[in-house]
C-alpha cells in the first residue's frame, strides 16, 4: 500500500554515473564535455560533433586516416629507449616506467615511421604516439625522427611528420634536449636535396618539439583548436600571473600570427597533403639551382 504514495521522479533521469555504462560506448569530449556516442565519434575521426575538438588519436589510427589503405610499411618498430641517464624519481625507476608506457601505448616508442602512399603518391611518414610518455621525445625517439628524415633523403621521397606531445622528455635529461639539434641537422640535409617536408601539428604540440622539427616544415599545417607553442598554457599562466583566454596559443591564434600556413580539419588533411605533394614533387629543383647559378 505504501508503494502508491512513494514519490516518483517527475522526469526520466539519466543514470547517475556514466562510468557504469558499458565500456567505450560513450565518450566525453575532453574540451566541451559533450557526451558522444563512440561509434559515431570514431566515424567522425574522433572530432567532437559539438565543439569540433580534434581528440588525440593513436599513431595507428592516424596512419589509417592519412594513408591509402594497407600502404604503410613500418621501419625500426623495435627501437626503444636505453634509459641514458638512469633516471629515478621517488623510488620509481624510469626503466620500469618504460615497460608501463610500452604496454599502455602498445608501441615501443613515442614515434613511429615508415613509407606509405597518400592518394597513390609515395611518402615517408612519421607519427607521434601520445600514449607513450605523453608523446615526449627521448633519444630513441630522436633517432627514429632522424632516420625518418634520412629515409626520405635516401629514397628521394617527400616527408610528412605528424607532430605533437609534451616536448623533450625530462627523464632523459640533456640527451633528450640534444635531439632538437639532431633532428634539425637531419632536416637540413633534406632541404639541401630540395625534398618537401610537410609538418602537421596536433593537440598539444609543445616545448622542444615545436621549437625544433615541428615548426620547420616547408608547409606547416595545424589541426583546429590544437594547442601549439613553446610553453604550455600552465607555464604561460604562471609567467604572466593571469588566466589565458580560451583561444590563446591555439592553431587559429598561430595562423593569425603567421606561424602556420593553414588550419585544416582532420578529414581534409589527406586531400590537402595529396595536392601539396603533387605540386612540390612535380617541380624541378635542379632547374631552379641552375637558374640561381646563372644569376650568381
Amino acid at each position: 500500500m505504501k508503494e502508491i504514495f512513494k514519490r516518483h521522479p517527475r522526469y526520466a533521469q539519466a543514470p547517475q554515473d556514466f562510468e557504469a555504462l558499458p565500456d567505450n560506448l560513450w565518450i566525453r569530449c575532453p574540451r566541451c564535455q559533450e557526451l558522444l556516442y563512440s561509434k559515431e565519434h570514431e566515424q567522425a575521426l574522433y572530432v567532437c560533433s559539438k565543439c569540433k575538438y580534434h581528440a588525440s588519436v593513436s599513431a595507428r589510427e592516424r596512419l589509417a586516416i592519412t594513408l591509402d589503405e594497407g600502404s604503410f610499411s613500418e621501419h625500426d618498430a623495435g627501437m626503444r629507449s636505453a634509459d641514458p641517464i638512469g633516471f629515478r624519481s621517488s623510488g620509481e625507476s624510469y626503466a620500469d616506467k618504460l615497460t608501463k608506457y610500452t604496454e599502455q601505448a602498445d608501441a615501443n616508442e613515442a614515434f613511429l615511421y615508415g613509407t606509405g602512399r597518400i592518394e597513390g603518391q609515395d611518402v615517408v611518414i612519421g607519427v607521434i604516439e601520445f600514449k607513450f610518455c605523453g608523446g615526449t621525445v627521448g633519444a630513441a625517439t630522436g633517432e627514429k625522427l632522424a632516420r625518418a628524415v634520412e629515409l626520405a633523403v635516401e629514397r628521394r621521397l617527400p616527408l610528412v611528420l605528424v607532430s605533437g606531445g609534451g616536448g623533450m622528455r625530462m627523464q632523459e635529461g640533456i640527451i633528450s634536449l640534444m635531439q632538437m639539434a639532431k633532428t634539425l641537422a637531419a632536416l637540413d640535409r633534406l632541404r639541401e636535396e630540395s625534398l618537401p617536408y610537410i609538418s602537421i601539428m596536433v593537440d598539444p604540440c609543445l616545448g622542444g618539439t615545436t621549437a625544433s622539427y615541428a615548426m620547420m616544415g616547408d608547409v606547416n599545417i595545424a589541426e583546429p583548436g590544437a594547442y601549439i607553442g613553446f610553453a604550455g598554457r600552465r607555464v604561460i599562466e604562471q609567467t604572466m600571473r593571469q588566466k589565458l583566454p580560451q583561444d590563446a596559443a591555439t592553431a587559429e591564434f598561430l595562423l593569425q600570427h603567421g606561424m602556420v600556413d593553414m588550419v585544416t580539419s582532420r578529414a581534409e588533411i589527406p586531400s590537402v597533403l595529396a595536392r601539396l605533394l603533387k605540386i612540390y614533387m612535380a617541380a624541378n629543383p635542379s632547374r631552379e639551382r641552375h637558374l640561381v647559378g646563372q644569376l650568381a
Binding site: A82, G166, R169, L184, R189, A211, A231, V235, A248, A249
Partner: protein
C-alpha cells in the same frame, strides 16, 4: 668582498666559531677558511652547482667580453621587430682574430634585470643572434657564443611572435654556418632557450656550470607538479659539466679559480679566452666540407637506444 652562498657561509661560520673558541686568528684562520672553501668547491653537489652557476656575482657575457676579448662593438636589434637586451652580441677580437661574439646576458641588479629579463630571451633575441651569425658567415668570422640563461621567456606575446620558430630557426642556422662555431656555457644552460645558441662545433663548459633539458624548477613542475622539488630534479637529471662530459656531449671542461668564477674575473676570463682560442686553432684548419661533416656527425651521433 664576495657574498657567500648558504652552504658556504654555514660551513665557514662553523670554522670561524671554533677558531674564536680556540683563540685562533689571523693567517692561520684565513688558511683554514681557504682550505675548507677549496674542499667545498671540489665536492659541490649538482644543486650546489646550480647555485654557483646562478651566483649574482658570477661573471656574465659582458664581463668576458671586457676581460677576454678586445675591441668589442655591440650591435643591436633583430631588424624585424625590436632589440632584446637578454642577448648581447657583436664583433670583437680574440687573440688577434676577428670573431663574432653572442651571449645571453643577465642583469646585476633589479633594474638591469628588468631590462634584461633575467637573461630570458624573447624571439627577437634569437633573431638578433641569427642575424649576427649570418653576418659572421659572410665575413668569414668564427662565432663564439656564451650560454647563461634559465630558459627562453614564456609569455603569450612570445608565442605571438613565434618563440618556438625563433629557437628552431636559430639552431638550424647555427648548424648550417660555413664558419667555425664555439660555445662556452658560462653559467646556467636552461632548455631550448640555451640550445638555440649552443649547437656549435665545440661545446665547452665552465667547471661549475650546468646544462639542463629544463631548469630544475621547470623540470620539477613538469615531473611532479611541484617546482619546490627543484633540488631533487637537479640531483637526478645529470646536469653538471662533468655529467655532460661523461656523455661525450661536451668537448672540454674549463677549470674555474678556487672558490668559483666569481672570485677571480681576470683568471676565469683568461681561461675561457684561451680555451676558445685553442678550439678555433683546430677548427680553422678544416675545410668547410670537413667542418660541416664533423658538425653533422657530432649531433647526428648523439644516439642512445636499444634495438
Amino acid at each position: 668582498m664576495v657574498s657567500l652562498l648558504d652552504f658556504e657561509s654555514a660551513e665557514l661560520e662553523a670554522i670561524r666559531k671554533r677558531a674564536h673558541r680556540d683563540g685562533i686568528g689571523g693567517e692561520q684562520l684565513d688558511g683554514a677558511l681557504e682550505a675548507r672553501l677549496t674542499e667545498i668547491y671540489r665536492n659541490l653537489t649538482p644543486w650546489q652547482k646550480v647555485q654557483v652557476a646562478r651566483h649574482r656575482e658570477r661573471p656574465y657575457a659582458l664581463d668576458y667580453l671586457q676581460w677576454a676579448f678586445s675591441d668589442f662593438v655591440e650591435l643591436r636589434g633583430d631588424r624585424r621587430y625590436s632589440d632584446d637586451r637578454a642577448i648581447v652580441g657583436g664583433p670583437a677580437t680574440l687573440n688577434g682574430r676577428s670573431v663574432m661574439v653572442i651571449g645571453q646576458q643577465k642583469g646585476r641588479d633589479t633594474r638591469e634585470n628588468i631590462q634584461r629579463n633575467f637573461g630570458m630571451a624573447h624571439p627577437e633575441g634569437y633573431r638578433k643572434a641569427e642575424r649576427l651569425m649570418r653576418q659572421a658567415e659572410r665575413f668569414g668570422m668564427p662565432v663564439i657564443t656564451m650560454v647563461d640563461t634559465p630558459g627562453a621567456n614564456a609569455g603569450l606575446t612570445d608565442e605571438e611572435r613565434g618563440q618556438a620558430e625563433a629557437i628552431a630557426s636559430c639552431i638550424a642556422t647555427m648548424l648550417s654556418l660555413h664558419v667555425p662555431t664555439v660555445t662556452v656555457v658560462i653559467g646556467e644552460g636552461g632548455s631550448g632557450g640555451a640550445l638555440a645558441i649552443a649547437a656549435a662545433d665545440r661545446i665547452l663548459m665552465l667547471e661549475h656550470s650546468v646544462f639542463t633539458v629544463a631548469s630544475p624548477e621547470a623540470a620539477a613542475a613538469i615531473l611532479w607538479r611541484d617546482s619546490a622539488k627543484a633540488p631533487e630534479a637537479a640531483e637526478n637529471m645529470r646536469i653538471t659539466a662533468q655529467d655532460l662530459r661523461s656523455f661525450g656531449l661536451v668537448d672540454e671542461i674549463i677549470p674555474e679559480p678556487e672558490g668559483g668564477a666569481h672570485r677571480d674575473y681576470p683568471a676565469v676570463a683568461k681561461a675561457v679566452g684561451d680555451a676558445a682560442n685553442r678550439a678555433l686553432d683546430v677548427l680553422l684548419e678544416l675545410s668547410v666540407e670537413r667542418l660541416l661533416e664533423q658538425r653533422y656527425r657530432k649531433y647526428r651521433d648523439i644516439s642512445f637506444f636499444l634495438e
